[in-house]
Symmetry: C2
Subunit: 358 residues, 2 copies
């Protein structure tokens, strides 16, 4: 009997639903309703375009000339990677070719502060053909620091969320990317109100109760450096070595890796489908604290996806304590390809997941 | 390493506090505050006399003549037991004297519907010397059915709780007892607003995360019958036999049983102290859903403790799913008196706890 799998199912039966769709609201909820029906239940919801219809950003940010003018004297941080995957797993030694596969590390992007116009140009130029992918994903409250001149184009906070949660946002972040930027599965210790302004964002979501399906493991931290002269990246493991717990699952493996990925991460690939949702320009996703999420994006006709997200402090409450307890249980069915049927399920401590991004 | 014991501690460190005292509010909370700071956290609170200061009941119900007059044409249900312990564990065969101790059953009181004046007289007469203890503890929404004429003496619901929870109470119950009535540890699947009108109630409280400390086991259901003519009780196991999962711990063992009880239930007696609170006339206790509670009472100078409680539907949410998962883990350190050190801690399914009373 697989008690942990029963938990995955029960949470869906009780509150989340058994389809992969996210609850939709036609208009912003009242604070009490938002708190009772979503935050307290740790249940995501998608609020329709009515959520940000009054933001000047909705119209203004589709105009690059406006953005460049507004930020003409601003410099902003862009993150460069060879493939659009910052804060993601990567082979330590890319030159290795034949099996066994090279060990993986947790690779952070090359961060660079440049004038906004240059940043925008780098992001726009990012493609399968370019030798880098640039993504403005600085986080750390960057909307209120680096992008100050745009402040009046959006609400300073999400009023119904602030009232429900009893606080103002701890951080407000701006994200500018295109089709090639992707964020790997991770979770944040924040209540997240994620507003898409231009383009679309596509989220895969798993509740915290599904933690074992993410195969969180400790990977050595590594850092990309971009050498402008050669247009090449160097990926080096940090010294002294430190380990970052990170989700091992790539939900979109290449066709040639599908079989091995499915065999390596059976709890993810054979368990309940993740919740899935596309957040369109003007919509807000409530992404509850501790939910695992993977994010891709589709730009609009101007070639960009721009989003603003509000991070509110979460309550470290009984659910959080239950999560830590659950995560500390080692649960990993023995892979079929070992030839052994059955599962190892015991109460050994496991590593915990670091707060990530988006 | 005892993961489950870490969970007990973490819930206290994060939200409940590490003393045995219950959070106190000087005035009724705003609905949003109540929802965010207590219901969502599954955290009890005690609201001062301001909570029911406007109830006519506060003054009127101290007057027996008033009660008897108001309910002169009402009949109400009283529950009779030999010792004040209804819905509690009792030895199946009381006549057995020497070890081994007789097996225990789950004993329900003898329920009897009598004119209110008679019920009041029976409750008042209950003492260590009388051959029975009577307790009006019918539940089942009895305040709105059996005690209809008293309805206007209290609020129909708790306005700030109804607004927070988004519903009216599912049941409103009246409780009339004296010093000799006691309610054994159990939990309810309701959010409970418990208002004491006369006298005092003393609660011991344990959060749902402490479920293993309650040693819930399945006991055969049994029924007391009171034979008026002889003034004696008969306790018979129901046929066909059915099992009721119930908490095994008596928090106040007789001095002669203290050693054996402590040895039998070490997780209760050596773990963190239960939360403890005395609810005085005029105060309301918010007793969160799924919390284990044990209740004793102290009458006022009229000899009675009278209380009204409001049961609101709970949310069967992620916390509930986590609770079921936790409860399904068998965790019972091997008793010291077996001579074996260590603990049995594995993932076997265990029985679940039935919703109880108070």
């Amino acid at each position: 009997m697989r008690l942990i799998e029963s938990l995955w199912r029960e949470v869906r039966d009780l509150t989340l639903g058994n389809t992969s769709s996210v609850h939709r609201l036609d208009s912003p909820p009242a604070p009490l309703e938002f708190l009772r029906d979503f935050v307290s239940l740790n249940k995501p919801c998608l609020i329709s375009k009515a959520a940000t219809a009054h933001w000047p950003a909705t119209a203004l940010w589709r105009d690059r000339a406006y953005l460049t003018r507004a930020l003409s004297s601003s410099s902003v941080t862009v993150h460069l990677t060879p493939n659009g995957r910052a804060d993601s797993l990567a082979p330590i030694d890319c030159s290795a070719s034949s099996p066994p596969p090279p060990p993986l590390c947790f690779a952070s992007a090359h961060a660079q502060r440049v004038p906004f116009a240059e940043a925008l140009e780098m992001i726009s130029r990012s493609s399968r053909e370019s030798n880098f992918v640039a993504y403005a994903q600085q986080q750390n409250d960057c909307f209120r620091s680096e992008y100050g001149p745009l402040a009046r184009d959006c609400d300073e906070h999400v009023p119904w969320a602030s009232e429900a949660l009893g606080s103002l946002p701890e951080a407000v972040n701006l994200w500018i990317g295109n089709h090639f930027s992707e964020t790997s599965f991770h979770k944040d210790h924040y209540e997240n109100l994620y507003a898409v302004v231009t383009g679309e964002k596509h989220f895969l979501l798993l509740p915290p109760t599904d933690v074992h399906r993410m195969y969180i493991k400790a990977y050595p931290a590594a850092q990309y450096s971009y050498i402008k002269e050669t247009g090449e990246f160097k990926l080096e493991v940090e010294e002294p070595i430190k380990y970052v717990p990170w989700c091992s699952v790539n939900p979109y493996p290449l066709p040639e890796n599908l079989e091995s990925e499915t065999a390596n991460f059976p709890l993810y690939f054979s368990g309940p489908k993740p919740f899935e949702c596309t957040v369109k320009a003007g919509e807000i996703l409530y992404l509850p604290s501790m939910w695992f999420h993977h994010v891709r994006q589709i730009p609009d006709d101007t070639g960009l996806t721009i989003a603003v997200n509000y991070w509110y402090d979460m309550q470290f409450d009984m659910k959080y304590a239950y999560f830590n307890f659950l995560q500390s249980i080692v649960y990993q069915p023995i892979h079929e390809h070992t030839g052994t049927e059955g599962e190892a399920e015991d109460l050994q401590p496991a590593c915990c997941c670091k707060s990530g991004s988006q």
